[in-house]
């Protein structure tokens, strides 16, 4: 009887832990529903949804390919759960409702998100926000919101991102070069 109790308790704890992990991973996902209203107003719309299935497929191929760079890419995307992009371009200035974008920015005001960069320019009313979410020491999500008077772009990456590995891979396999500054010295990517 006692063993049954402890067994049930273990299962309960395991389920609770799994739920917590899932909830945490889902937290980094932004809700884009509010942006759907912009579809009719925008001149151009781009929507990218790279989620579990496609990432799993990419991982499966990359792991099997006998190339060290492919293996590193597979390692870099191994924990990724999704990449979502929305871009809306408008013909005229201020054609969209600012509150729609602000609703996305308000989602990033929760304590889980940390502001990494914030740029405001009076020219074209440009606003750039970069937020990151951490689970312990590991980055579990990135959100980038860029808006100006004629366009809106939102990028949402969910899952752990290894910045060091990404920097190492920059300039290879069509990945743009990234230079990360450390202690005031720019780090040159190894080629």
């Amino acid at each position: 009887m006692k063993s049954l109790k402890s067994y049930s308790l273990k299962i309960m704890l395991l389920l609770f832990g799994l739920t917590a992990i899932t909830a945490n991973a889902q937290d980094a996902r932004l809700r884009f529903e509010r942006l759907n209203g912009l579809e009719n107003k925008a001149q151009d719309v781009v929507e990218v949804n790279i989620d579990g299935k496609l990432l799993d497929l990419a991982k499966r191929v990359m792991v099997k390919v006998n190339d060290p760079n492919s293996k590193k890419i597979a390692q870099a995307i191994s924990g990724l759960k999704g990449i979502y992009v929305r871009v809306y371009n408008f013909e005229k200035e201020n054609e969209y409702n600012v509150t729609d974008v602000e609703e996305i920015r308000s989602q990033l005001q929760s304590p889980a998100w940390q502001k990494l960069a914030n740029v405001r320019s009076k020219k074209n009313n440009q606003k750039v926000d970069v937020f990151t979410m951490f689970t312990g020491d590991q980055m579990s999500g990135v959100a980038v919101v860029v808006s100006d008077s004629k366009s809106i772009a939102v990028v949402n990456v969910i899952g752990p991102i290894d910045i060091d590995l990404l920097a190492e891979m920059s300039g290879k396999l069509n990945i743009p070069k990234i230079e990360i500054e450390r202690d005031g010295k720019p780090e040159k990517p190894k080629n």
């Binding site: 579809e39 151009d44 719309v45 781009v46 929507e47 299935k53 499966r60 191929v61 390919v65």
Partner: protein, 196 residues
């Protein structure tokens, strides 16, 4: 005599069966048919004939290069649509055609009449990809089924029917042949590698 005839007829029948079964297998997908019908009926699109497409599809279904099991390309021209309603109509067709098992990967639309839709779904060990593009008065509906594991094998060792497509391997084989004083063949047939 009768036995010889039977031997000859059997491969011919098999070949015919393969030729007709390959396009049918591809056309089975209801989503492809629905989209093609929509383009034909709603936008009065005219289908563009691609010469030897049936042969290319048959060859792919037999050879399966790079893990590709089947593919289908349907081109259209002279599409007549309203730019205002095109996006709404296409989205509705896409939603109705592709079931919940399909994932929308990419959607691009412009008021100038450009549309791109890309869907993907897993089918056992294979992956099905469907792409629909509309560019002003032209459209293309592309479908492909491939095995990702086989694709990775092909990337590692690009060979079709044992013939290597890898230039480095070909050059190495040519050098070996030259050193032995043998005329180098254009393409080397699959041979076990000799360890040096």
């Amino acid at each position: 005599m009768l036995f010889k005839k039977k031997i000859l007829i059997t491969p011919v029948l098999l070949l015919l069966a393969f030729t007709f079964s390959a396009p049918t297998a591809i056309a089975k997908g209801g989503e492809h048919k629905k989209i093609v019908n929509h383009l034909k009926t709603k936008y009065k699109a005219k289908k563009v004939n691609i010469p030897f497409m049936f042969l290319a599809r048959f060859v792919v279904s037999v050879v399966r290069p790079a893990g590709m099991k089947s593919f289908s390309v349907t081109l259209f021209e002279d599409l007549k649509f309203s730019r205002e309603t095109l996006d709404r109509e296409m989205q509705s067709v896409m939603k109705n055609s592709f079931g919940a098992d399909w994932s929308s990967i990419l959607r691009v639309r412009s008021r100038t009449g450009e549309q791109v839709y890309m869907y993907m779904r897993e089918a056992g060990s294979s992956v099905k990809i469907a792409v629909v593009t509309i560019d002003k008065a032209q459209a293309a509906v592309i479908r492909a089924t491939f095995n990702p594991e086989k694709l990775a094998d092909f990337i590692n060792n690009p060979k079709i029917f044992g013939i290597s497509l890898d230039n480095k391997e070909q050059q190495a084989n040519n050098k070996i042949s030259e050193s032995k004083g043998i005329a180098a063949p254009e393409k080397k047939i699959d041979e076990p590698k000799k360890d040096n």
